[in-house]
């Protein structure tokens, strides 16, 4: 029973939160929504910074809140990364890191070097927080949260206060966390690029309620205007580099039950990658395509035909084994081919992006 069970009701003037969630006990779960959707309130309830009525919260089998139990925030074995400005101004970077370590009294040895290295802040330890850039501060804040051996890492839009360049700078660190940490991460965001890139699981909130709770690959293949913008509708696949074609400068990327060729970006064989395949770059055919410039062609089965943003368009969801792809077609094309749910089709992929 390593899942996270979270049930909260909050009643604030002009805002209500009412959620009942089971979340995976590993990987990155994104809590996505616009401002006012309740995503930060939910995170604060989990942290105990907000006290919800009728709450139930269990993390990895430990109850933090129910009818008779309420752990104060400082008794919850969590790490929390705030949106901005959370380093103590009266302490150096080292003092900030030590603040949590001293109080956590963990029975595990603190792997100080490893975490400091993971976030690349070795050279900042003697500095004062005021002398750091926004990105550096957030990296220190993340390290500080990790050094207390949390059972869960809660991140409240940790990149929101950073400009585009700083976000790009800090992203590789977040991806390393995702790949190296054994603990679940709850990641609040309103940026679907961030979510598509980082998350394994996606919860979409709207007006204090959960409107979707599913693995990211599934969520992306069931497009929802509340999550994705029109142009960005596409599916996400997790795969790895399996082969390099040196002659044509191509790399083969395998994902569950399929594979695609794309330009060789110099990634080594075996490297794990996440692919974004935009629905507009996918076309469908009844017969195996011959003499097409599109080299990536897969066999699949139609699992759903969904409305698109424009009445002339349709989004066709196709399963290639265990993987889901989306194709954006005109309604007329779908009718001409007489596409029906359950039909076998050939999926042609014109372009793949690594995210």
């Amino acid at each position: 029973m390593n899942d996270i069970i979270a049930r909260f009701q909050l009643d604030r003037p002009g805002f209500q939160l009412d959620v009942d969630l089971v979340l995976p006990g590993r990987g990155v779960t994104a809590l996505f929504g616009t401002s006012g959707s309740g995503k930060t309130s939910l995170l604060r309830c989990i942290a105990g910074l907000e006290r919800a009525l009728n709450g139930l919260l269990s993390v990895s089998g430990e109850v933090w809140q129910d009818k008779s139990i309420w752990l104060a925030p400082h008794r919850r074995p969590m790490g929390y990364v705030f949106q901005e400005a959370s380093l103590f101004a009266h302490l150096s970077v080292m003092g900030n890191l030590q603040y949590g370590i001293k109080r956590a009294k963990s029975d595990q040895p603190v792997n100080f070097e490893h975490i400091v290295g993971l976030l690349g802040i070795e050279h900042l330890l003697q500095r004062q927080p005021q002398k750091l850039s926004g990105g550096e501060r957030q990296r220190v804040a993340i390290a500080r949260a990790l050094l207390i051996h949390p059972k869960i890492l809660l991140m409240d839009e940790p990149l929101a206060a950073l400009d585009a360049q700083r976000k790009q700078d800090i992203f590789p660190y977040l991806e390393r966390l995702r790949d190296e940490l054994a603990i679940p991460i709850l990641y609040v965001s309103h940026d679907h690029h961030e979510v598509a890139r980082l998350a394994d699981h996606l919860v979409v909130l709207e007006a204090g309620r959960v409107i979707s709770n599913s693995p990211l690959t599934v969520a992306m293949a069931q497009p929802d205007q509340r999550f994705q913008r029109d142009e960005d509708i596409g599916s996400v696949l997790d795969g790895q580099v399996s082969e390099i074609d040196r002659r044509w400068h191509l790399a083969r990327l395998d994902f569950p039950d399929g594979g695609l060729w794309m330009r060789d970006h110099g990634l080594p064989v075996g490297k794990k990658v996440r692919l974004l395949i935009l629905a507009r770059d996918v076309s469908l055919a009844r017969h195996p395509p011959e003499q097409s410039s599109i080299q990536n062609s897969l066999q699949g089965r139609i699992t759903a035909i969904l409305d698109d943003t424009h009445p002339g368009l349709a989004l066709v969801q196709v399963s290639v084994g265990a993987s889901l792809l989306l194709a954006r077609l005109t309604r007329r094309a779908a009718a001409t081919l007489n596409l029906q749910i359950g039909d076998n089709v050939w999926v042609q992929v014109k372009s793949v992006a690594l995210i």
Binding site: L49, A72, P73, H74, A85, S86, L87, H90, G100
Partner: protein, 229 residues
Amino acid sequence: MMFLTDGDLQALMLSLELASSVTAILLLIGTPIAWWLAHSRAWWKVLISVTVAMPLVLPPSVLGFYLLIAMGPQGPLGVLTHALGIAPLPFSFAGLLVASVLYALPFMVQPLQNAFEALGDQPLEVAATLRASPWDAFFTVVLPLTWPAFLTAITLCFAHTVGEFGVVLMIGGNLPGITRVASLQIFDHVEALEYAEANHLALTLLLFSFLVLLWVYARQPARQQGGTS
């Protein structure tokens, strides 16, 4: 001839003793009041705020008068001290202390309240997520981040108590060695037409006040804004 007479020194020492005691007591009771005022959302918080601020605008004789009545044999404080078997408060050092604590209360509470409000909740929340209990967070985060306000409050309380006149006259009478503080001693010198002696003691207090305020004002720019970055 000495610059100050024995009576002057005795009065000065009494003033310093009173001011130190008042400041210490106010640190203990003013800090929680300021904390509560900075964090409470109760509607009647404004009533407490106003009550605390009253000594700023009231004539000291008004406050002194009502305190004297309250401390008298029929007053609530008088009944209480009698029931507890404590000596009556009027015309005693203890009575002076009680009156002075009330009179200096806003000078302790207001700077602290402002500092706590400016600090906000976030440093406390951050501390809680790093396993610090509320008490722990107060001493390891709030105090280090608001100590300039504490210094200001302590200094103002101390200086204000030394400079008190009306309230101590009403409550303390003017008993040498017991309630005759420096400000009253000056008054006595003037009444006795001892202008030279009055000048010496008055000059001492003037310099003292000037230096204290200079120290507080000179420190102002060093104040920190906010607690986290």
